[in-house]
């Protein structure tokens, strides 16, 4: 399952790789899909919004030559939200784009995933299906790309 998460940067030494993984999956999911999957779970606790959801920018960076000194490539829109459940857990979300509902749901699910009583259920009912959606999309694109990979033929020389 972990392989379904696009992961560009090494996670060795990351203090909380499991949370990083579910936040990555939530960041790539639509509000409608998260909502629909949550509907199949036990009722979620009431939550208050501590911050946002608010739309802002992240300046993305590249590296000169691909591996050299960093430079500012350009900005992207991002929405962030922080919630606190009545059970006392704080959930955070930073998700690409301007969908405030998505940011709020991602923050809520982040909080639920930190609850030992709910984590297994939410993982199975929400995170895993979302991860499968994303893995399917990635695999479809990769399969189309693979079909356009050039197969060179070794030409036999005409000399006899």
């Amino acid at each position: 399952m972990n392989d379904s998460v696009p992961r560009d940067q090494p996670t060795i030494g990351h203090p909380w790789p499991a949370r990083r993984r579910w936040m990555s999956i939530l960041a790539r999911s639509t509000a409608e899909r998260i909502d629909a999957l949550l509907a199949g779970c036990r009722p979620v606790p009431a939550h208050t919004i501590l911050r946002g959801p608010e739309v802002g920018l992240v300046m993305t960076r590249g590296r000169a030559g691909g591996g050299g000194a960093a430079f500012n490539l350009g900005e992207m829109t991002v929405t962030r939200c922080t919630v606190r459940t009545e059970t006392g857990l704080a959930g955070h979300a930073y998700v690409a784009g301007r969908d405030t509902r998505r940011a709020e749901l991602a923050a809520l699910v982040d909080a639920l995933m930190q609850d030992p009583d709910r984590a297994a259920e939410i993982e199975a009912a929400v995170i895993a299906p979302l991860a499968q959606d994303q893995a399917r999309y990635t695999a479809e694109r990769a399969a189309k790309a693979a079909a356009t990979r050039v197969q060179f033929f070794a030409m036999q020389t005409m000399r006899t």
Binding site: E54, M59, T60, A69, E75, M76, V78, R98, A142
Partner: protein, 355 residues
């Protein structure tokens, strides 16, 4: 004499904008174009507006294209204006193009490079004949082929050639990069600032400049070492979390241009590199950017600076189409007073010449 009364245009302006809205909509017997349709079906326009607007948001770029009636510079202008209304939360960790989820990857210098040549959804090898079947809005699109994707790593060309020292290596730096959106452009401009300017520069301008280097104006014998397009993850490290998280993906095009270099007093003969990286599927732009990036490195590499593309000030002061359009188009605003004074001057000179 500084001002003349300029009043009375309000009604004309309102009426002009109302007519513009009507013209934008076009014949109401034709269904309105949805932003979603632009996003899905005019993807290369969306990519270009995001790149030159320097804001990655497909829906906003599509909206800007609709609002600007397809005028892509006007649309990029709208994005630049919009971004000023938003706070900046963070900057990203530098994206890792080496682990890009590749949709296209070609090299003109190695036929059998690891990972292979992947053509992707390309216009290359099409015959550039109009496809009249597209006149039929309901024409079915045949399903494209798929194949088993192998999990070969796709090393970047510098990672292949670099080991032998034949190809210039990347110089890692922990210096905080300059940011044109925060500090005005100053000279000499370092490569980080130049790359930022090129990434958001006008494709047409960079294409022309890149072309000029090929035709001998600062030639540097380029080879397209590698072009890759695909998706990369964007990571940030929010202070309140204290660890890095993914916030989503960007589609990017990267070009590694490899150039002959005969060496200098300090550098042995080797291949040098120009670099291009742009938002979206922007192969032409990425290639032009890489050519111009390499050309602008002339003085760093001890080459004579003789051509426009090598002149950093010339390139950076003129590559931004929002600035360029602002200054060119301001000429149409009222210059009545300036012109009256010029007119008086010319009349006086003619009178003096006649006397």
């Amino acid at each position: 004499m500084a001002y003349v009364a300029v009043k009375g245009g309000e009604q004309a302006i309102d009426n002009a904008h109302a007519w513009l809205a009507e013209e934008r909509r076009g014949d109401i017997a034709t269904p309105a174009l949805s932003v979603r349709q632009i996003e899905e079906q005019l993807g290369r326009s969306v990519d270009r507006v995001m790149a030159e607007g320097s804001l990655y948001d497909r829906e906003l770029a599509a909206l800007a294209i609709k609002q600007a009636q397809g005028d892509l510079i006007e649309a990029a202008f709208l994005l630049r204006a919009y971004r000023t209304t938003l706070p900046r939360f963070a900057h990203s960790v530098a994206v890792e193009t080496g682990t890009m989820r590749i949709e296209r990857r070609v090299s003109a210098i190695f036929k059998d490079l690891p990972g292979g040549q992947v053509l992707g959804p390309t216009y290359d090898y099409t015959h550039r004949l109009l496809d009249f079947s597209l006149l039929d809005d309901n024409a079915a699109v045949s399903e494209c082929a798929t194949a088993v994707a192998n999990s070969d790593v796709m090393p970047r060309v510098p990672d292949i050639l670099g080991d032998e020292g034949l190809l210039e290596a990347d110089v890692v730096s922990s210096r905080e990069p300059g940011d044109l959106t925060r500090e005005p452009l100053t000279f000499p401009a370092a490569r980080d600032v130049r790359l930022q300017a090129l990434a958001r520069g006008d494709e047409g301008f960079l294409l022309g400049l890149g072309y000029s280097t090929q035709r001998g104006y600062g030639g540097s014998h380029p080879f397209a070492g590698e072009i890759r397009m695909g998706e990369v993850s964007v990571e940030i490290e929010p202070a309140e979390l204290g660890f890095s998280i993914d916030i989503g993906d960007l589609i990017l095009t990267e070009c590694q241009m490899v150039n002959q270099f005969t060496g200098s007093k300090t550098v042995p003969p080797q291949f040098t590199r120009g670099y291009g990286l742009v938002f979206g599927f922007g192969e032409r732009k990425a290639m032009a950017m890489a050519l111009v990036d390499r050309a602008m490195r002339a003085s760093e590499l001890g080459e004579d600076v003789t051509a426009p593309a090598q002149n950093v000030e010339f390139v950076l002061y003129h590559s931004d189409n929002i600035e360029a359009t602002g200054f060119v188009e301001h000429l149409k605003l009222p210059h009545y007073v300036d012109f009256q004074s010029e007119l008086q001057n010319v009349r006086r000179m003619r009178q003096e010449a006649a006397e």
